[in-house]
Amino acid sequence: MDAVTAKQLIALFEAIATRVETEKDRLSELDGAIGDGDHGVSMSIGFSAVTDALSRLEDPDPAAVFNAAARSFLNAVGASAGPLYATAFMRAGAAAKGHAVLDRDGFARALLAMAQGVRERGKAEPGEKTMVDAWAPAAEAAQAALDRGEPLGAILTAAAAAAREGAEATKAMLATKGRASRLGERSIGHMDPGAASAALIVGTVADTIGR
């Protein structure tokens, strides 16, 4: 893709919603093992609210899409995922502000802003077994590919792979943030549900926008 339009962004959110819907039982089960079992439900509620809200936008620009996604996700979800993704989308909206379409740099910056938003809202460091462990490596990989001058497709593919590996790596981690943090040792061996859904989201970005 050369430049991402608001319409394509909306299609991206729809693709994410579809993926989340398919995977929601798995996400809830992951959360059941170390948290409260609702992560799939929350993500599904959130993205279905997002697609709903986006379908009602009239002639939006990319920033408007991100902002509407932030508000609708937050208000439909609450929970941990709500503020984290709402902040992510809000930061992406800020990064996209003033652009009619998002080119390679513009879209990559929006993705990096999302990762940054998650990081800032949750105040989690990598290694604490949260969605940051998928988002942070994804951002790093994207930044590196960006710096290497690779095309958007390659940037997103690198980010998706890093997110997937990051999520995988949470299995070995001891949770210190979020509901699983009281589990101590017993959190080890289970993938963090937020990291799993993050990998799924970044993966869908690559599949949809990176083609």
């Binding site: 809830s28 079992g37 609450g78 949750g122 943090s181």
Partner: protein, 335 residues
């Protein structure tokens, strides 16, 4: 096998519950017309009185919604099942109950709740509403003593909310209400035990597994794993294990007094709770802790989870008086 639930479309279960609540208790609570997830007391907050906003995920009824009313909480934003409410309904609650005395946000310590209430507090500050926040951390089993601030807030909420609500009702200023809430939280200790899981309306699948004859001590009110899993013991032995954990932290001293809550996590019936309370009373007598007041019943539940929790609140005269202060809420009345 899917859990049987008497619900309609699970997507609307919270909305329908809220409607059922305001229809059942029109003298106590109402929904804000522009923010139906915000439940506020029918009686408007008195000028200058601190507004007390409690809240959290749904599925713990009568916690949190049931404690809105006269003399306790003034408002409650309702989240999805086991999910913190988002900032908007929290903010609307704050706006609705601010009568110039400021607002106390009082809720259990969970990452999601902290993020959402903090966002709401920032938004409230932008609207010149003074907000203080106290998070409850009474769940002894949820983190070691040296990481007390990381502990969860569970059934002890009832006592903590009650004390703070009474302080506000007595027209204490925001500083004092905040101090009381912190003090109440400091002195409240809960341990839970789960016997069988609950399941979310959307999944209708047990959100954890427990063997045919197993119990788990320390399990959280969302099914968060606890500290000890083992074969189900006789009630007295279970109570002893739970009380040992609580008493290890219960303040030392002369003339100790406690408020007791023996709480059902959902499907454990009163018969079992009272059997447990028999042992609690016996043990406390043995420890020379006098019982000022005992609550027994479903006060903070986890949908239909089986199990119970025991809470002790260490009382001085101030806390005892605040607990005795009358309140009249949708689902709780005392004093």
């Amino acid at each position: 096998m899917k859990t049987k639930k008497l619900i309609n479309d699970p997507r609307y279960v919270v909305e329908e519950m809220l409607e059922g609540i305001v229809k059942a208790h029109p003298g106590h609570v109402r929904q804000l017309p522009h923010s139906p997830r915000s439940i506020v007391a029918v009686e408007a907050n008195r000028p200058g009185k601190v507004g007390v906003v409690v809240g959290g995920g749904s599925g713990h009824e009568p916690t949190f919604l049931g404690y809105v009313g006269k003399g306790l909480a003034d408002a409650c934003p309702a989240g999805n099942v086991f999910a913190s409410p988002p900032p908007d309904p929290i903010l609307e609650c704050a706006k609705a109950v601010n009568s110039g005395g400021g607002v106390l946000f009082l809720y259990g310590n969970y990452a999601g709740d902290v993020m959402n209430f903090d966002m709401a507090a920032e938004m409230a500050a932008m609207e010149d509403i003074e907000v203080r926040t106290v998070v409850t951390t009474d769940d002894v089993a949820s983190a070691p003593l040296d990481r007390k601030a990381e502990r969860r807030g569970v059934a002890g909420n009832v006592f903590i909310f009650k004390a703070a609500g009474a302080a506000a009702d007595k027209m204490l200023p925001l500083d004092e209400v905040e101090r009381v809430a912190r003090k109440a939280n400091e002195n409240t200790f809960t341990v839970g035990v789960a016997l069988s899981p609950c399941s979310l309306p959307q999944t209708r699948r047990p959100n954890f597994e427990l063997g045919e004859d197993e119990m788990e001590i320390g399990m959280g009110i969302h099914g968060e794993p606890g500290v000890m899993r083992g074969p189900l013991q006789a009630a007295d032995a279970v109570v002893d294990d739970m009380l040992d954990r609580i008493l290890a932290e219960f303040p030392r001293g002369e003339a100790r007094r406690a408020a007791v809550l023996v709480n059902s996590l959902g499907s454990t019936p009163l018969m079992e709770l009272y059997v447990a309370n028999r042992r609690v009373a016996e043990r406390l007598a043995g420890e020379n802790i006098s019982v000022h007041r005992t609550l027994v019943g479903p006060y903070c539940t986890s949908l239909e989870m089986a199990g119970m929790s025991i809470t002790l609140m260490a009382l001085d005269d101030e806390l005892a008086e605040l607990l005795d202060h009358p309140c009249d809420c949708a689902m709780f009345r005392s004093g």
